[in-house]
Amino acid sequence: MAVLAEETTRDRLYNFTSRFQIFIILILIVAVFSALRFDSFATFANFRNVLVQAAIFSVMAVGATYVIITKGVDLSVGSILVFSGVAAAKVMEALGDQGWPIAIVGIIVACLSGLMWGIVNGLLVAKAKVPPLIATLGTMGIIQGLALILSGGIDLKDAPYVLGDVIGFGSFLGLPVLAWIAAAVIIIGGVVLKITKFGRHTFAVGSNSHAALEMGINTERHLIKVYALAGFLAGLAGILSLARFGSTTISGHATDNLQVIAAVVIGGTSLFGGVGSVFTTAVGVFIPAVLTTGLVMVGAQSFWRDVLVGMVLIGAVYFDQIGRQSKK
């Protein structure tokens, strides 16, 4: 028993430090930039700027956290974002008005488009048993291609003004509306994962899908729901992006999938499934966002961001591996 108690303590310590590791890294990055450029970096204006940058990625990363906990991956989120934005813009253009009713129709169209593609991904992974990497690599191309066909390859810019004014650039209680939306998605997504039956089954499917099946969980249906959630959130990100940039930004999301996966993994969610948290994913999203603005302010080339994010990513997975081996 003594030996076991020791393992348990180490287990907890490992969980504790790996959870906080990423917070500590984020705080260190903020501290370094603040020390170098206190006048511009540690300002409220810059804080707002970082929040806006992180917001749209956070929404996609919440879905990706669920997917990665099931031992899956979704490469198609960037394409879904583009497709949903194009579909919403097309419908809103056809209805041709600038008011809220049209904007709401656009929001619904974007979310439903995302949901539909998410269900397609889920069916491919759960029913057709195509490995997630391949299934979503395939749909990534298909969805992006269809978005280009639908739009004729030209960015649509006819979003209702209210969408941009209120959602894209609006503020509520001093903070960007985009950040509030992202915060709501993170909190709901994080709490559902932590304390509900749906979250529990997500962990179980990722930890040992065979066991989940033997205990009577409908693992196929659960996987479809998880991919549907990821698609839905990518659709929501699509309308947020349209609101922010006033354009469908067709060619701007080719690497969103990798950035989202990087954020999830930096946040400590394991690619081996069964372990993860939406709240630490949110921290994982902030690291690239903080680096981007910080590096610009200290006068470094912004390309350094990619170098540093890559290093943090490899470090995060390395420590995850070490933690797993020490438990064996």
């Binding site: 028993m1 076991l4 348990t8 559902v192 962990f203 179980a204 066991a211 989940a212 205990m215 009577g216």
Partner: protein, 252 residues
Amino acid sequence: MEAVLEARGVVKRFGRIEALRGTNFEVRPGEVVALLGDNGAGKSTLVKTLCGVHTPDEGEVLVDGKPVTFNSPSDAQAMGIEVVYQDLALAPDLDSAANVFLNRELLRGGLAGKLGVLNFGEMRRRTEKALEDMQVKLPSVSVRMDALSGGQRQSVAVVRAIMWADRLVVMDEPTAALGVEQQKAVLRLIKRVRETGRSVILISHNVPDVLEVADRAEVLRHGRRTARFEGDQMTTENLVGAITGALIQEDA
């Protein structure tokens, strides 16, 4: 005494292969019965038929003397029959309370419950109680499964089965992957299950294990029951003889 669970003349075919060829088998109340047989004798197929994974092509399955039809494992579970699979069916990243209540999660009352919010406290409390009843000691029910020893994991799987099985627990090679001390602990656990009044089917290759805990033994060979032993007939010589086919009882 009427059998808790009985198979009568069960035939199960997979394509042209006849895995069970008119197999009989019975479990009486409150007993540990060993199901023995060489590889390919039909042990797994029989057990899968008894717990609803397979449906028999011919013959019938009876619970408390009444014919039943199991279309899925959950039908058998509803009749109080649980299986401890050889792979244990545990999620290594979840703790024992989560595993014991896997897919039988308790929800909170009111609106929170409708939204699917788990009742962590109650699940932990009931798991602790069940472990205590079976005298299984764990550092805590909140420890991840992969931080426990093989024997402790086996115990959690058995306790989970007992928790949901009113009638019968089926154990598939429960000591196969364990060290000597842990094997003993699992055998003690099997005896405690019998003390609770439940029956146990013990599938095993291990003759000493069977001699230690089983009240009776039934032996399968080529998809048929070829021997039954109880009392002082339960000897290594008889069991091994029946498994290898050297000993066949005409009336089995």
